[in-house]
Symmetry: C2
Subunit: 369 residues, 2 copies
């Protein structure tokens, strides 16, 4: 367990939702919290000040990606990941298990670790659970993720079971390799869409002294009812006193649903990636800014929104910037979408604080609830 | 002449350099001033707030480009170019004569105007000097440029002479088409690299009641001594009481040289375009951030620089962002380079104010002087 990390459940709602507080070496984070994705060391297009302004308290990066470039030793030489990113508040890194499986060519998973060929420069490497912990400790992050084996949707049960066993074994090896008290480590529950395997994974991991627990391998293209079923089954065995992180989720409605199940942390590329493609989140639903009907619309993306984009730019202006391929279009769209997501989480927390969850939270979701 | 535009020479240096002040409907601009380039309605990657923070007082956009997309009527419907850009300080637009010649296919210049085929959607159009003025008035800019005929370097003297005559005729027609007192209009001296034709062009234009005068057709690939010779010859006939704008110039050393000749306004893509390519301006010269020697350099781009990039990011971090193709790398590099240019102009003005021009200005240029 980390000596510099703490989690407190401040209030538990009858729904199962929790208001909580993470304490890390780089400050506290109120939960439920959404973590903007900054895979390579930046939330695409945004300065740390802009991240601050949209209300981010903690961001996500990816240890596998950073290990490929600029390299963990390079980040360490530059003062660690906080210095690299110019972001001095909490950072959580995914170990990269998922990315290894989805990006690297010629991956071969063995009990020792993952043999891969880098997607960046083609070099061959072996990434072991101990390497994942050492890399994240060297990056100096606040929360590290244990290396897990992700399997594709549709994988035969026997192989999923083997991945679960391996993920548990790796979890123990990773924890044993810890050297830095300032980095908290979370285990990742796997088990595909099989409730029994999920329970087995949770049992194995919760027997280990992790600072928190994540549920991985969801939101990989399956129907939302499947995600819901598995996430609901997976949350039960997780200890109440530790933070629970549902990886890669989701839409505003997903966030509401999974907060209600008792998940505390979330990350997703939706608000940032969709922004770059011109899909804006509003209370009334999605707004496709390239649509011709916005060309002469002088209203902001969302009336009443307090973000910088809505304060300064019309739908017509944003549409023009996106159609002209101006970088500022992507920046302004990202600012708005992250502001939308992070405002939503503030509304969720306010609702939990005042005991009006989920009704107030559902209102905040608008058409997304 | 515009009824809402004024220019005052506050101090004239023995070198010929001037400290001045433009007053426009959107505020005042101290000169000499550098105008960041925002061709399509944004200085690539920067929000108006960031532009403010790097010290921009006035920005440049391009009427031809904006007429192609989103269209002048659309900009007007959205409240004008200031609203489109979210920028509420002065804007100068180039009419687009230069862009028409360099971008549009199948251009045919006649006395009536420029017949062109749009580089965006291929439509055929005729852009007359009256259209240039009407478009810029409809955009609601503070300073509009008269439509000029630019000729390529190496054009026979006879054709250059015809372009000069046409530019003067167009200037008179454009002025006659004015309807909006709030938009100042500048004439553009052409004449290639021929001193006699430059003098002829200046004589023709200064006989017309323009609010200011620009020298165009330079910095198009010619040797710097040629630029210097022509710019020096062209500045003489321009009225002392009007602002003088040297278009498309230049490096920090160019700015020093041409400020000393008595030019007041400048624009150039160098700081912004080079930033996106990873070329950073520092007092010690250029810094190519992709260079391997910066990989583990924890120093800022320029020691002592007060820009946001230098306050928060190391050379190693910026190199990583640029190599990884992260948009933030381009944003941070642009912030630094514009801050460098705009600080330089502040130093020039301070030197003129205190009578230490050009020595203090040369110190500010560092290796670029």
């Amino acid at each position: 367990m980390s000596d510099r990390f703490a989690f407190e459940v401040l209030r538990e709602d009858p729904s199962g939702a929790r208001l909580g507080r993470l304490v890390t070496p780089h400050g506290a984070v109120e939960t439920p919290a959404f973590m903007p994705v900054g895979t390579l060391g930046s939330v695409k297009g945004l300065t740390p000040r802009q991240l601050d302004e949209v209300g981010a308290d903690i961001v996500l990066a990816n240890a596998y990606h950073l290990a490929q470039r600029p390299g963990v030793d390079t980040v360490a030489a530059l003062g660690g990941l906080h210095a690299l990113m110019g972001w001095h508040r909490p950072i959580l890194t995914d170990s990269g298990g998922y990315q290894l499986m989805s990006l690297a060519e010629l991956v071969r998973v063995e009990d020792e670790g993952v043999h891969y060929r880098s997607h960046v420069d083609g070099h061959a490497g072996l990434f072991r659970p101990e390497d994942a912990i050492r890399a994240q400790e060297a990056l100096g992050v606040d929360v590290a993720m244990s290396l897990d084996e992700c399997v594709a949707s549709g994988t035969p049960r026997e192989r999923v079971a083997r991945a679960v066993a391996r993920t548990t074994a790796w979890a123990a090896r990773g924890l044993a390799a810890r050297t830095r008290g300032a980095t908290a480590v979370f285990g990742i529950v796997q088990g595909g869409f099989d409730a029994e395997l999920r329970a087995e994974s949770a049992a194995g991991l919760t027997a280990l002294p992790f600072d928190g627990y994540a549920v991985g391998g969801l939101s990989v293209g399956e129907p939302v009812l499947e995600t819901t079923r598995v996430a609901a089954a997976a949350v039960g065995p997780l200890p109440r006193a530790r933070p629970r992180y549902l990886m890669g989720v989701g839409t505003p409605g997903d966030l509401l649903r999974f907060v209600a199940m008792g998940y505390d942390l979330f990350d997703c590329v939706l608000p940032t990636r969709n922004a770059r493609n011109g899909m804006l989140f509003t209370r009334d639903g999605k707004l496709v800014i390239r649509n011709a009907r916005h060309a002469r619309d002088a209203r902001p993306v969302e009336e009443g929104c307090g973000c910088y984009t809505c304060a300064r730019f019309s739908r017509g202006a944003l549409r023009h910037l996106m159609l002209a391929g101006e970088m500022l279009g992507a920046v302004l769209s990202t600012l708005h979408n992250l502001h939308f997501y992070l405002r939503l989480m503030r509304e969720f927390r306010a609702a939990l604080r005042e005991g009006t969850f989920p009704s107030r939270a559902a209102v905040a979701c608008g058409a997304w609830a």
